[in-house]
Symmetry: C2
Subunit: 444 residues, 2 copies
């Protein structure tokens, strides 16, 4: 069972529900929507993960191992297992192109498919889109705060498993990061790879100077030296010594990295030492426990920092490690449907989103209306899959998504971009949708 | 490139450092240790992930796709790429058996291998062990708070990717959960699968009663009905109606699930309705935003709850989404080594852990000493791999790990188990280690 392809990466209840749906011929077209509920820590979200979601849908089949597990479990009928042996996803997908900025209650994905197909895919589809959206949304905040300073993803080691580490490279790059330290992220998605050295490298040598010089001569094109293994001041001084020897062989020290202590103070001290040593072109990179909040402080007071590496705080979206994502049935058998319990009222019907801009190109507000009467050309949700096959609209490149994201981030109203207590972006319901909402009062 | 096997699931700097190590023949034996620094939110950790770590080490090779990526990157010499084509892990691994309770600064894993081998594996090994340990440690807190109430893992959809979702099933089961909703977790690790139904199932039917009855007749052995799609009181009343019809065909309603609102109040109301309706044996499960803190409140006031499902808060370890894990070089070329910068002083040398119990079998404290002079029979770190091959000691079953964890959790001093501001468990350094620490003052 291939982790990245198996349909068993789902919740058991998807399968038990399906058995009943098939048993009762409940295979008419259903519409499910994936959306996020409001988050007090995020003024906006960035849609990500669609490419992996569509790839999974296109290849979704039950192999022998999966069917055998179903048999052994004793939970399913033979007839149902046989049905699943022939399972394919045959539906339509409408979605926000990756990199699109969106808001609470707006569908980022809409599945139109026979009820059992649309139901089965819930768990994994959410698993894919939720995580990448979570990280792209976090990374976008770092990108906005960092201004022109390059930000790099360093966090794979503490990401939650390998898929998360790899997807985080992708989501961060989409949000505008410059590079990733994760080789697989680079290999799979064509993201520039980057890296310096670990403290262990310095410790494995008998002196810091020897470690620096060996590394530099072995990687003459990309010399970035880690200077805080023992003492940052001495580390910076050693860089100057070594740089003079390396200069004789035309090897430039491109950068140094500081990973501990007061990063701003260390960067200032290091800048002075490097400048006095004639290394005005050597860049200073910092890392260690950074996120958008600490970046804001660090960069606000003008510390001489030329690049930042972020890790665990971003890869785990530490201040908000999950979003209140939902995948809900909103239309079935010709009827809008929605859950109304306990104050969480979902919006029924098949929806479309329209966005409004002011004269300066800044986003003013969105309207949530119904797909049936919407203008497809201007609606944000695009049809990216039909009959279980991707359409060209579902084939956007990562570079396009990155560009889209940058453009939209800069069109966001200031207050909505705020790191703390962001303003609520205006999302209004169309008159039709309002009416539908009052009509579909809870069944009693 | 298979996500679960590829050596490119690593940081670029591991490869650039390796190129220098090989170029300079720095292939002598090194000792790296993986440990956690102190966490104010966790009084103890539970070791997990070793099985996946060892499996990865045993199968670690560079395939054609990996070598091709290295070539295309332009970052490596031909000689180095050729070396990596023949790469195998040939080292020894000493580790805490999975399910072992451990504390800050104690190595949960010790790698003894030629320097480049021990270095390369850093990123992925930490990625594997850090996440499972993070989740087992979180889940153990839920297990302790829940007492005898079964706890179930429901969180795959919002876990960070598929590997995290599947590993969380395993880590939670190790920590004492009863079952998992994730089919792949069940299929891979033999964990009991469990599930009820989604709100969509109820919404897809024209009445709640019809949804309940269809589901029950289709899954007569495991009828658990979700009663909060519209209104919990009406949902419970419908369960009673339906149960009477089902009883005529000897189909019992095993349980109901409540997923929203005031769970304690809803459980009390539901219990009354079920009891009055003659359904005293029907269990009440609750879910929705639960973690150890909310479980404590929920169960403390005696709400009639027979089982709980936990999801995102546990699968993402939301109050502490990553641990301050470190993988550090502690011995190389006959010399203990450690990083001393900025107040974070690592403990040098090859370490072993001994644990002390009082007469009642409660844990009193640990001693961290040096492996060279330690009693191997009683030390907590066991040799689980030698020459890159697993030893029988590295082949423990998940059931054993689960039992080990339960035993140790109940031997933990009360204060150390506390959910908030846990007491610090006494970990003392042996005289030898203290001496070594003073000897290895920072190189200046």
């Amino acid at each position: 069972m291939d982790l990245e392809r198996t349909p068993l990466l789902t919740d058991l209840y998807e399968l038990t529900m399906l058995q009943t749906y098939y048993a009762h011929g409940m295979t008419e077209e259903a519409v499910f929507e994936l959306f996020m509920r409001r988050s007090s820590h995020r003024g906006f979200f960035v849609a990500a993960g669609l490419d992996q979601g569509l790839e999974w849908l296109e290849t979704l089949t039950f192999g022998d191992a999966e069917l055998e597990w179903m048999r052994r479990s004793g939970l399913f009928s033979d007839a149902f297992i046989e049905t699943m042996a022939g399972f394919r996803f045959s539906g339509r997908v409408n979605a926000l192109p990756e990199g699109t900025v969106f808001f609470a209650e707006e569908p980022l994905l809409q599945i139109v498919a026979p009820l059992p197909e649309a139901q089965l895919i819930e768990s994994r589809l959410m698993n894919i889109l939720h995580y990448q959206t979570l990280i792209a949304s976090k990374a976008a905040r770092c990108r906005l705060v960092a201004g022109d300073t390059p930000v790099i993803d360093f966090g794979m080691r503490r990401a939650h498993g390998g898929e998360a580490g790899t997807w985080a490279s992708r989501a961060c790059y989409m949000a505008g990061f410059e590079a990733t330290a994760t080789c697989l992220g680079s290999a799979r998605y064509g993201i520039p790879p980057t890296g310096t050295m670990a403290h262990a490298f310095v410790l494995a040598h008998d002196s810091e100077a020897e470690a620096f010089e060996r590394f530099a001569r072995n990687h003459p094109d990309n010399v970035v030296l880690l200077i805080d293994t023992h003492d940052v001041r001495r580390g910076a001084e050693r860089v100057v010594e070594v740089a003079h020897r390396l200069a004789q062989d035309s090897i430039p020290v491109k950068g140094v990295r500081i990973d501990s202590g007061d990063l701003a103070a260390n960067a200032r001290m290091t800048r002075e030492i490097l400048d006095e040593g004639g290394l005005q072109d050597t860049r200073i990179l910092v890392s260690g426990g950074l996120d958008e909040y600490r970046l804001e402080t660090l960069l606000a007071d003008g510390a001489p920092i030329d690049g930042v590496g972020v890790g665990s705080n971003v890869n785990t979206s530490a201040d908000q490690p999950f979003l209140d994502s939902a995948y809900k049935l909103h239309y079935f058998r010709g009827k809008p449907r929605s859950k109304h319990s306990s104050g969480k009222t979902d919006l029924p019907g098949r929806k479309q989103i329209h966005r409004h801009y002011d004269g300066a190109g800044m986003m003013q507000g969105d309207t949530l209306g119904l797909m049936e009467t919407a203008d497809a050309a201007t609606g944000l949700l695009k049809t990216v899959m039909e009959n279980g096959r991707r359409l060209p609209a579902g084939d956007g490149s990562l570079a396009d998504a990155r560009e889209r994201c940058q453009t939209q981030l800069h069109a966001l109203p200031e207050g909505v971009r705020a790191l703390r207590e962001p303003a609520e972006y205006p999302v209004t319901l169309s008159a039709e949708l309002e009416e539908l909402l009052t009509q579909t009062a809870p069944e009693r």
